[in-house]
Symmetry: D2
């Protein structure tokens, strides 16, 4: 692993997230800064298997820092889960003279990188890019801050309608396993109740809280529901039905925010975080280190072994749960 | 009808739309300007029946021009459809000394105003407030321009994801009977195909157009579907299934934008249009006229008898249909 | 002029405006639709003189409809004002087989096109692209609607500070000769007073109106000033000094919005207008017509001879002036 | 200090910042949650001196979490710098039964609180509300994250024009003593150079860096300049002149973003941070503690003695300076 890195491959993998392009730009420019080459790998591991490469220089990343999505595209690759697939990928990298790669993505992408590293003793680095903020080893993932703003702006709009019509809205936001988006956006949007996968509020407490907020004079309400929430095993539409039956004088609606949460121009925070992570990932490889994920903690760049990043579990913030109970009174 | 108006009632009715608050502000201030009183009526016709009134002055409408929704709230009222309900409403207006009212809303609201005018010879004026732009007698309704920007911004975000993953998205936008939002937002968002209630494209042409755009090298696509569209009698989710089966190499997703389309801070155009309509509505009453809807045509304020506004049908713009065929090539 | 057009040149000229890229996209795709070639000319007339051309197809305008600025760049060209310069330009067009061009820009750009047309009997068409909305022959110019939203959003932010600190803000917006942006954005932002080039309010009335709005309980105020305004021959900074001296208990500030007004992702309206104008410009050339500017009036595409577009004067809307007097009460 | 707190006063002081309303909401609701009273004090310390108080309950803070500015208004108070002024303020608080207060503001506001606490042994708490992020004892101040997004969005717009016209823009952003906004927004906006008060780049290096970025093919450039920067003792306008003379082929412009940076709807991060700080400030008082500023570090709430917060100096992040050198290559 101590052989010096001269040519770095770069790919985005898994679901796209705002800030991925800013990270791509930073990785490429850090390579230029250190006079090493950077090879863009298209469509994630699938493009690696197919040798879909392109040399990148400072100009190829001009004017992308403010754009959502990823110019390198992303794709899932079942073939990369096979030894044969990874062998093909390694051959392509070798032929292209690539001697290390940086992958921007989530858990699945990091697992692939770890296996690849073990099989071929190939230096790899990970940058956490996902709006779900569900990765161990970093306080914030790329795209998370932008997604929170997107969700809060959408709920602000829904609240205009809710309060004009004295309605109750169930708003489903992203987060299959993690309630971070729901909890933070719920507090930020002034939601009356927040339902997350990490804890089952229970139907009784939901009804109570809605009733009590109405008693306090609230004529409209927003309940933010994480995709992965299963309060009493019910979907957001079933919850609506349930409340309709039990609180008949409420006019209840559902809004599923959906895929728009993944896109959009990244927030300043995500652009800066992406820039810092891109620099750190490349310079870690140049230091002869490998198989780490770059993360941010206490506003500083830190390194976490990919293995821990994949195995570790990011916990929901108990203080935030308490804050949400208090401010939604 | 020639008795001079001294106190004007004001209500918002039907679905809320951005710009309603700006129109409320303009109506109130035009009353102040002409030294007549203005009475705010809460929750539409229901509030009229219950006498839920409040005197409004210039200050009660400070800092609302930029806010979505309606500070007067809105509600549907089945009771106002009965003679008894309208009788109660009339009594409350009489007791309060209100001798005319302005209603901001859509077709249903105008129908109610017409009947009320016929029964009690009570001066009324209508201001078209709905995002659907489906009202005869005005080129643009209040909230329509804002909704178009909201939809286009949402689809811009979805496109980031679509192009990063080479996906096809069906995006459902509002418009039960009118395709205006779908057609204009579809052109504005650069959609590959647009499905509206006014014409059934047919499944074959949909598949053809998707295939041909792929042949032209497009790796991702957006199809904008109006709520009221019934291509081959299929819902947006059924369309997705159909395309999934017939174009298996497409990764197809659905996004229903939903209620956020109704809210948000109004665009400058909607704020100015609302201001102009509010002034015109009040001054028309002061001229001794009644039972008109204020509208805009050729960038000038015009009056249309409420009866025509309700009966007339706003047509889809054939030139726009052609433009969309050309620019989506 | 009746020889059929087979290859169309396209350039943007003068100050950039949101929607120019959407118009470029529409012109290119309309050419593709009609199976004729389109040549992009970079940096306006200067690039025409230097033969800085590039063939454009449907793909070269992918994903630009939502972007501000112009991918063809723009520049002023003193050389094009000389016969020699235009002769060079003509030679380059001839060599490239270009037999007509569409220029997106303002008065100056159209004047250049007219002269070029007279000298070389060369078919030309103009598309009005400028945020100032100061062109005769169209109700709205490309970029104007977007600029209004940009200005209104900026003033909404400034009002937060103004009302928190009971301040008076003079906000300078673009518009050297035309008050359209100031008047519409001023109404849209709920400004207490609006100063435009078309009429000199006079210092006395300015002070009066500020005093009376304070008497009505307004503790903060926004005065929108068009760049070209010369109330009593004073600049916005001189106006601030004057008010400081004469209304000492006001805390007066100045904010010059500046160049950000020219940029940003175009509004839906500008994107659709650009698409319509692009289609119309190309199809007018294909009809064997020339030397017209495409415009919109009564929500329909119209043609105005370039000569009239250049000579004509777009007037300020008297109704709007009156509306602003009423709603700012 | 151990007497239990039963009624808490609340004020905003100094320059307003997005998130102040969210903090007000949180303080009020935390009081309600703990069954103690909350008294709103208008116009900062000046209102304290004048006894401009109002009792606040959960409803008085409905629908403010998303609004910029401060509903309690803010003002500077020279009178509070005098013993007599503070004596008056104390008397008003005593008469109203207020036995502690929370002040949302910056250094100056905290100094006032400290002196007041020493003179009258009166429990006080501080919440850092300022966009400048220049307060010791917290990684982020309220409003900073929102201001960064506002600045980056504005520069994104300016870049559209810059790149369409191959221009160089000097963009002045807020930050009299601290370069945090300039450095982070500069990185986020992809600026070619960033000038901050903490270090004088020097005119030579500025010219070099502009020349070298041009040599690398960059045809347009953005230089972000903090208000407080004094590169070679020059203002942003003098810098423009200097570059104009020394790099004549550059078309140089200046844009001063100004007061809009202080306003606008707070970002999700600022809304959540404000909620957390509001809860922490009240509960710290209820714990019998006083004279602390609430802050965030390592994503947790922390307390810093007001004295340290005022005396301490927040340093510019050296890692970020390095990142900006690398990514702007």
């Amino acid at each position: 692993m101590t052989k010096t890195v001269k040519k770095i491959g770069l790919l985005t993998s898994g679901g796209d997230a705002p800030g991925m392009n800013a990270a791509i730009r930073a990785v490429v420019r850090t390579c230029v800064y250190h006079n090493i080459e950077c090879i863009g790998i298209y469509r994630g591991y699938q493009g690696m298997i197919e040798g879909d490469f392109e040399t990148m220089d400072a100009r190829s990343v001009n004017n992308i820092i403010n754009r959502g999505g990823t110019i390198l595209k992303s794709a899932r690759s079942s073939e990369f889960r096979t030894k044969e697939g990874r062998q093909k990928a390694y051959q392509h990298l070798k032929n292209a003279g690539v001697d290390a790669f940086v992958v921007i993505g989530g858990d699945g992408s990091f697992t692939g990188a770890m296996i690849f590293n073990e099989e071929f003793d190939f230096p790899v680095m990970g940058i956490p890019g996902t709006i779900d903020n569900d990765i161990y080893g970093t306080t914030f993932t790329l795209g998370y801050d932008t997604a929170l703003n997107t969700v809060v702006e959408a709920i602000d709009k829904i609240r205009d309608t809710a309060s004009s019509h004295n309605r109750l809205f169930f708003v489903e936001v992203m987060g299959r396993d993690a309630g971070d988006i729901a909890l933070n956006a719920g507090i930020g949007a002034g939601a009356e109740e927040i339902l997350i996968p990490e804890e089952d509020l229970g139907l009784e407490r939901l009804l109570e809280s809605l009733e009590s907020s109405r008693k306090r004079g609230k004529t409209s309400s927003i309940v933010v529901v994480a995709e992965g929430d299963k309060t009493a095993g019910k979907s957001v539409f079933e919850l609506k039905e349930y409340v309709n039956e039990n609180l008949p004088d409420y006019d209840v609606r559902v809004s599923v925010l959906g895929h728009m949460q993944r896109g959009g121009s990244p927030s300043c925070y995500d652009r800066v975080l992406a820039s810092r992570m891109g620099v750190k990932a490349v310079e870690t490889l140049l230091d002869g280190k490998s198989t780490y994920m770059v993360g941010v903690a206490c506003d500083k760049m830190i390194l976490t072994p990919l293995e821990d990043a994949v195995k570790g579990k990011s916990e929901i913030d108990q203080e935030l749960l308490r804050v949400s109970d208090i401010v939604t009174i």
